[in-house]
């Protein structure tokens, strides 16, 4: 063809194949590019679908600190150690707050709770930031939470339990982006005692480990008569005799429920079990073992743990002489994959994993 410039739809098609970081940069090319990339929901969906199918979605770790700040790290790059790989996030117009808690993320959209009461949806890559309606809780602590999606209706769900520890009362609610509203849930919750706050999203349900050594799941698509569902851990799982194990749920490569198990006191290796067939107890198999090859010499233990596809990220406490140091550790299958980053400032609150996308909750 002669010296012609490309038709717009062809340029858009080319842009669809780009990763989010490049696209955000190219919003500065022209006003039209800015508009296509940031204000076109169809473009956002196409880009996400292409990256998802090619398995090129960029994975990041978001963590909040009491300083207060939000930062993220690239989970795909081998090195956690480089200070330049830390991305500092600015929230466009956050309410004044002391705490910010990431509740979870789905398709690149992160949900944040400010001071346990105001909840926003946020895309860390595009900066899109929108307040959710008030859940209507009494002023208490958000204790248990999770984020997921019902793909058939493109409906994002946010599940939150607000707990009054003094009176031992719980309020549960679930937000639907499609209904643009919260629904209070009348559900029996008192029988449970979860080991972690953050629900693991898989198969349109959230999952937590309960101290009674089973998995408790909540199906996000339930419309009424809401209830939790139980799933069993591998047989003979806690056969460690006198040893005390810590367990963490996650999702492994291929979309299987996984379980990381390590000795509570200074173990230097982690076993990863995978549930090959969802809901089938006998499909649990011990898949691999991750070695934490250079644990700190001082006493240390795991704090919060994220089990990812083939690695595990943990916040660890190191007990130094009169202080506690905190570090983020990435433990991979090969020794070279173990990377750590130690920081001493502030308290690290919570970590979630998110993918880079251009998606947002539409009006």
């Amino acid at each position: 063809m002669a010296e012609t410039t490309l038709p717009v739809e062809l340029i858009v098609l080319i842009l669809t194949w780009l990763p989010v970081k490049s696209l955000i940069r190219f919003t500065c090319v022209s006003k039209r590019f800015h508009s296509i990339i940031l204000s076109d929901p169809n473009f956002a969906k196409s880009q996400f679908r292409v990256a998802h199918d090619r398995k090129t979605l960029a994975q990041r770790l978001l963590y909040s600190s009491t300083v207060p700040k939000l930062e993220s790290l690239d989970l795909d790059s081998p090195s956690f150690k480089h200070p330049s790989s830390v991305r500092k996030h600015k929230l466009p117009s956050a309410p004044a707050h002391d705490d910010v808690l990431p509740l979870g993320s789905c398709n690149g959209i992160v949900f944040l709770a400010f001071d346990d009461k105001i909840i926003y949806s946020w895309n860390p890559s595009t900066g899109f930031f929108k307040k959710l309606p008030d859940p209507g809780f009494s002023p208490n602590k958000i204790s248990v939470y999770g984020v997921g999606q019902l793909p058939a209706t493109d409906d994002y769900r946010v599940f939150v339990v607000s707990t009054d520890y003094a009176d031992d009362k719980n309020e549960l609610a679930m937000f639907s982006s499609r209904a643009k509203a919260w629904k209070k849930l009348e559900v029996d919750f008192d029988e449970f005692c979860f080991c972690s706050n953050q629900g693991i999203h898989l198969n349109e349900a959230l999952h937590w480990l309960d101290t009674s050594k089973e998995i408790v799941a909540f199906d996000l698509g339930q419309e009424e008569k809401h209830k939790f569902r139980k799933m069993l851990l591998p047989r003979d799982f806690n056969d460690g005799g006198g040893d005390y194990y810590e367990n963490h749920l996650g999702v492994s490569a291929g979309g299987y429920l996984s379980l990381a198990r390590n000795l509570y006191v200074c173990g230097d290796s982690v076993d990863i079990w995978v549930m090959g067939e969802y809901g089938v107890r006998d499909s649990w198999t011990k898949r691999f073992n991750l070695k934490f090859s250079h644990p700190p010499r001082q006493d240390w233990n795991f704090n919060s743990v994220l089990v990812l596809e083939t690695t595990m990220v943990a916040e660890i406490y190191v007990h130094k002489r009169h202080e506690i140091g905190r570090g983020l550790v990435k433990i991979g299958k090969k020794e070279e994959d173990t990377r750590s980053m130690y920081k001493d400032e502030g308290d690290w609150l919570n970590m979630i994993q998110y993918q880079e996308s251009l998606l947002r909750i539409e009006d």
Partner: protein
């Protein structure tokens, strides 16, 4: 019972618009914008929706030379090269692996402008898998380039004021780091 002569006549009719004997591969003839005439194997030509529609829709005889005024001869050469290979590999066991190897060779020494021309042609001829491949190759090429490079490549004018540009940039400074420091 038909006579041999009648049989031959009916065979001739069934062999299609080209009127040749049944077992000779059918060819489709096209003329590019710069006047060159190409003979394409039917199976390769049918990979291009635009050509397929032209002949199939109105049952046009294969004797017709289809004009491809928007395509230059060098471009068609490349398109034929890709589609022929694709058709050849399509049903093979190592399809993906062999296709990838071919793809890497195919784009190896192509300039960005060449890739853009080919994307235009792939779009015009409606060859989906070729279009996707070329677009992906262009995307891979520009993904670590800076804003100015992309403007030049696509011939896009900067309609931001200095201030607007700086503001857009400071919204996500991380997106402007670690770029290719090169080549135009």
């Amino acid at each position: 019972m038909s006579t041999p002569a009648e049989n031959e006549a009916s065979i001739k009719q069934e062999s299609g618009p080209s009127g040749t004997v049944q077992d000779k591969p059918k060819k489709i003839v096209v003329r590019t914008g710069d006047g060159e005439v190409f003979e394409l194997k039917e199976e390769v030509a049918m990979e291009m929706e635009t050509i397929k529609t032209f002949f199939m829709e109105d049952n046009i005889s294969y004797e017709t030379v289809m004009p491809l005024t928007n395509v230059d001869s060098w471009e068609l050469v490349k398109v034929i090269e890709y589609c022929s290979k694709y058709v050849e590999l399509k049903n093979k066991e190592n399809f993906h692996k062999e296709l990838k190897a071919f793809q890497d060779e195919f784009v190896k020494s192509m300039s960005p402008k060449t890739l853009l021309s080919l994307s235009n042609v792939a779009n015009y001829l409606e060859i989906k898998y070729f279009l996707d491949f070329i677009c992906q190759a262009i995307a891979d090429h520009i993904k670590s380039k800076d804003v100015e490079y992309v403007r030049e490549l696509f011939g896009v004018e900067n309609d931001f004021t200095e201030e607007e540009y700086e503001m857009a940039k400071t919204e996500a400074p991380w997106a402007h780091e670690n770029l290719d420091k090169d080549l135009y």
